[in-house]
C-alpha cells in the first residue's frame, strides 16, 4: 500500500516538474518556432503551433540587415571581460571575508548585496554623465567596468560560500610551509576552489550576457552587444515578430548551448552551501 502511494507520488512529482519546466521553457520554444514562420503566420490568430510553412527567410533577412558577428563579438568581450575582471577582484575579497573575518564581515556582505536592490535606473543619470566625462560612452571597456561592478556582489558572495567550505587549516599549513599570501591564493586556495570558481564564472557570464539595461543605455553602434541587436528589431517601424524572433534566437543560442553543456556546474553553483 505504502509502496504504491510512494510511486504514485513520484509519478505526480515528475509530471509536475515537467509541467513547470515546460511552462518556463515555453516562451523560448515559442520564440524559436516563431522565427521559422512567415510574418503573417507569426501574428495569426488563433496562433499556429507547428502546422506552418517552415522558412529560413527571417534568418536570411536578419543576416543581411545587421552584422551579427560584430554584436556577438561585443557580447563575448563584454560578458567575458566583466566576468574575468570581477573574479580577479573578488577572489582576494572573498578570501579575506572567509578566512580573516572581522566583526563587520557579515554586515559588509549584506551591504554589498543591498546595492543590488537599488533600481539601476536610479544611477543611470550619474553614470551616464561620468561616461561622457571619461569618454567611455559606447565603448566595450566602459561596459566591462559597469557590468563587472554590477555583478561583483554576486561573484564575491558565491566565492565566499565556496571558500568557507575549504578548511582554514590547509591555508595555515601553506603559511607554515613558507607560502606568501600570493602563493597561498595562487597555489592552494584557487586550485582547491576550481569547481566553485568555474560555476561562478559561468553564472556571471550568463548574467552579463543577458544584461539589457546598461548595455542598451550606454551603447550606440560600436560597443553594442546582442541585447542591442535584439532591441533593434523591436522597432517603431512596425512589428516584425518573426524577424524579432529570429534575432532573439540567434542572440540566445550561444548562451543556451553553453548552459546546456554546463548544467551540472550551474546547478552545483546555485545550490552550493544550501545542501550539504
Amino acid at each position: 500500500m505504502a509502496r504504491a502511494a510512494t510511486s504514485q507520488r513520484k509519478v505526480l512529482n515528475t509530471a509536475l516538474a515537467w509541467a513547470v519546466g515546460f511552462l518556463i521553457f515555453f516562451p523560448i520554444l515559442w520564440t524559436i518556432l516563431t522565427s521559422f514562420k512567415t510574418e503573417a503566420q507569426a501574428i495569426a490568430s488563433p496562433p499556429i503551433f507547428l502546422n506552418f510553412d517552415w522558412t529560413l527567410e527571417n534568418y536570411a533577412v536578419v543576416q543581411e540587415r545587421s552584422n551579427y558577428m560584430r554584436f556577438l563579438w561585443n557580447s563575448i568581450i563584454i560578458a567575458g571581460g566583466s566576468t574575468i575582471l570581477g573574479t580577479i577582484i573578488a577572489i582576494p575579497a572573498a578570501w579575506s571575508m572567509a578566512f580573516v573575518p572581522s566583526k563587520r564581515t557579515k554586515d559588509i556582505l549584506l551591504w554589498m548585496l543591498s546595492t543590488k536592490m537599488l533600481p539601476a535606473v536610479g544611477v543611470l543619470y550619474p553614470i551616464y554623465l561620468l561616461f561622457i566625462k571619461m569618454g567611455l560612452l559606447d565603448s566595450r571597456a566602459g561596459l566591462v567596468i559597469v557590468l563587472m561592478l554590477i555583478n561583483l556582489p554576486i561573484i564575491v558572495w558565491m566565492l565566499y560560500t565556496y571558500f568557507r567550505e575549504i578548511p582554514g587549516e590547509i591555508l595555515e599549513a601553506a603559511r607554515m610551509d613558507g607560502a606568501t599570501l600570493k602563493d597561498e591564493i595562487l597555489y592552494v586556495l584557487t586550485p582547491m576552489a576550481i569547481p566553485g570558481i568555474a560555476s561562478t564564472l559561468l553564472l556571471n557570464f550568463i548574467l552579463a550576457w543577458n544584461e539589457a539595461f546598461w548595455t542598451l543605455n550606454l551603447t550606440a553602434a560600436n560597443a553594442a552587444p546582442l541585447t542591442a541587436f535584439i532591441a533593434s528589431y523591436s522597432s517603431p517601424e512596425g512589428l516584425f515578430y518573426a524577424k524579432l524572433s529570429a534575432a532573439s534566437t540567434m542572440a540566445i543560442a550561444p548562451i543556451l548551448i553553453l548552459g546546456w553543456f554546463s548544467q551540472k556546474q550551474l546547478v552545483r553553483g546555485l545550490t552550493f552551501g544550501a545542501v550539504k
Binding site: E169, A174, D177
Partner: protein
C-alpha cells in the same frame, strides 16, 4: 638549533583572556608536550609559537632572535595539524615538496629531499597518489614528511593522533618518538591525552585555564605533582584525592594516593569499604571501592590474580611513603 623562549606571552580574544602572561623555555632538541583538558589554551599557545595567532603581549624568542612579529613562514618552524591539512589537489610528492618549492630550492635538491623523507616514512609507494586515496595513518605520515623536508628548527604537533583509531595511534606514537630520537630536533606536541604525554615527553607542561600548572619530566609530575589539578590529571586511572577527617589526620586539606599505592585486603586494614565495579585488565584488576570514610569511591589496583566479588567487604591501606598531601589552595605540602 631550536630553543624557544616565551617571555610573558599572553593572548586575549577581545575581552576574554585565554592565556595570562606566561614564561616558558623549551630547550633545543627537547620533546615538550603541552597537555591539559580541552579549552585550557594549549593549542592557542602552540599557534602563538607558530605565528598563526598574534600574541597580545610579551615576546617569543626562537634561537635568541625575537620572533614575536615574524610571520609564520619565516620562523623556521614546521607544523603538523590534527586534520593533517594536506593539499587535496596535489600528489603526495607535491605535498611533501611544497615547502621546498616555496623556498625556491632547485628541482634536484627537492627530489633528493622528498625521496629521503619518503624513505624514512615508508611512503615510497604512494608518492603519486592523492591524499584522498590514503588511509588516516598514511596521511599523517605525509603531513610529517612535509614537515621534515624543511629541516626546521622545531616541529609543532597539534593533536596529530586524535583522528586516528586506537591501534594506529599507538603505532604512530612510537614512530614520532623514534623520529625524535633520530632527528634530535626540538618538538612541541599538544595533546589532551595524558598517556601520550607520559610516553613521549622529555618535558611535560600541564596547562589549565591558560596557566602553567607544572613543568617537569613525566616521572617528576607523576611522583610529585605540584597541586591537586596535576595530581588528578596525570596518571591513569586517576589518583584518589580524599578530603575530610582522614586527610586532617595527615595535617592536610586533601590527601592523594594512586591506585597502585593502596593495599587491598579481605581481613584487615585502615579503611573499611565495599567493592563496587571491578575492571579486569588481565595483568591487573582495578577495584572501585566505596569506603565509609569518603563520599567518593576509591580506585585500587590489585594483581590480576585477586578475585573479590561485587559487594564484598574489604579493607584498604594507603602506602604512607607514597601519600601526597595538599593544602587549602590545593598546593603540595612537603
Amino acid at each position: 638549533m631550536g630553543r624557544i623562549v616565551l617571555d610573558q606571552v599572553s593572548k586575549s580574544f577581545g575581552e576574554v583572556e585565554v592565556i595570562p602572561p606566561l614564561d616558558l623555555t623549551i630547550e633545543d632538541g627537547e620533546f615538550t608536550v603541552f597537555v591539559g583538558p580541552s579549552g585550557c589554551g594549549k593549542s592557542t599557545l602552540l599557534r602563538l609559537i607558530a605565528g598563526l595567532e598574534d600574541s597580545s603581549g610579551g615576546h617569543i624568542r626562537i634561537d635568541g632572535a625575537d620572533a614575536t612579529n615574524v610571520p609564520p613562514a619565516k620562523r623556521g618552524l614546521a607544523m603538523v595539524f590534527q586534520s593533517y591539512a594536506l593539499y587535496p589537489h596535489m600528489s603526495v610528492r607535491k605535498n611533501i615538496a611544497f615547502p621546498l618549492r616555496m623556498a625556491k630550492l632547485d628541482q634536484v635538491e627537492i627530489d633528493r629531499r622528498v625521496d629521503g623523507a619518503a624513505a624514512v616514512l615508508n611512503l615510497g609507494d604512494y608518492l603519486d597518489r592523492r591524499p584522498g586515496q590514503l588511509s588516516g595513518g598514511q596521511r599523517q605520515r605525509v603531513a610529517i614528511g612535509r614537515a621534515i623536508v624543511r629541516e626546521p628548527a622545531a616541529f609543532l604537533f597539534d593533536e596529530p593522533l586524535s583522528n586516528l583509531d586506537a591501534a594506529l595511534r599507538v603505532g604512530m606514537r612510537l614512530e614520532i618518538s623514534e623520529l625524535h630520537k633520530r632527528l634530535q630536533t626540538t618538538m612541541v606536541y599538544v595533546t589532551h591525552d595524558q598517556v601520550e604525554a607520559m610516553t613521549m615527553a622529555d618535558k611535560i607542561v600541564v596547562l589549565h585555564a591558560g596557566r602553567v600548572e607544572q613543568v617537569g619530566s613525566p616521572l617528576e609530575l607523576y611522583r610529585a605533582p605540584r597541586n591537586t589539578f596535576v595530581a588528578g590529571f596525570i596518571g591513569s586511572p586517576k589518583m584518589n584525592l580524599l578530603e575530610g577527617p582522614e586527610a586532617a589526620k595527615h595535617n592536610a586539606r586533601t590527601i592523594g594516593t594512586r591506585p597502585e599505592h593502596i593495599a587491598i585486603s579481605e581481613t584487615d586494614g585502615e579503611w573499611a569499604g565495599t567493592v563496587g565495579v571491578s575492571e579486569h585488565l588481565g595483568s591487573d584488576t582495578f577495584f572501585h571501592v566505596k569506603c565509609d570514610a569518603f563520599p567518593e569511591p576509591l580506585t585500587v589496583r590489585a594483581s590480576g590474580e585477586m578475585t573479590v566479588g561485587y559487594g564484598a567487604k574489604v579493607f584498604l591501606t594507603p602506602d604512607p611513603a607514597h601519600l601526597h598531601r595538599f593544602d587549602e589552595q590545593g598546593l603540595r605540602l612537603e
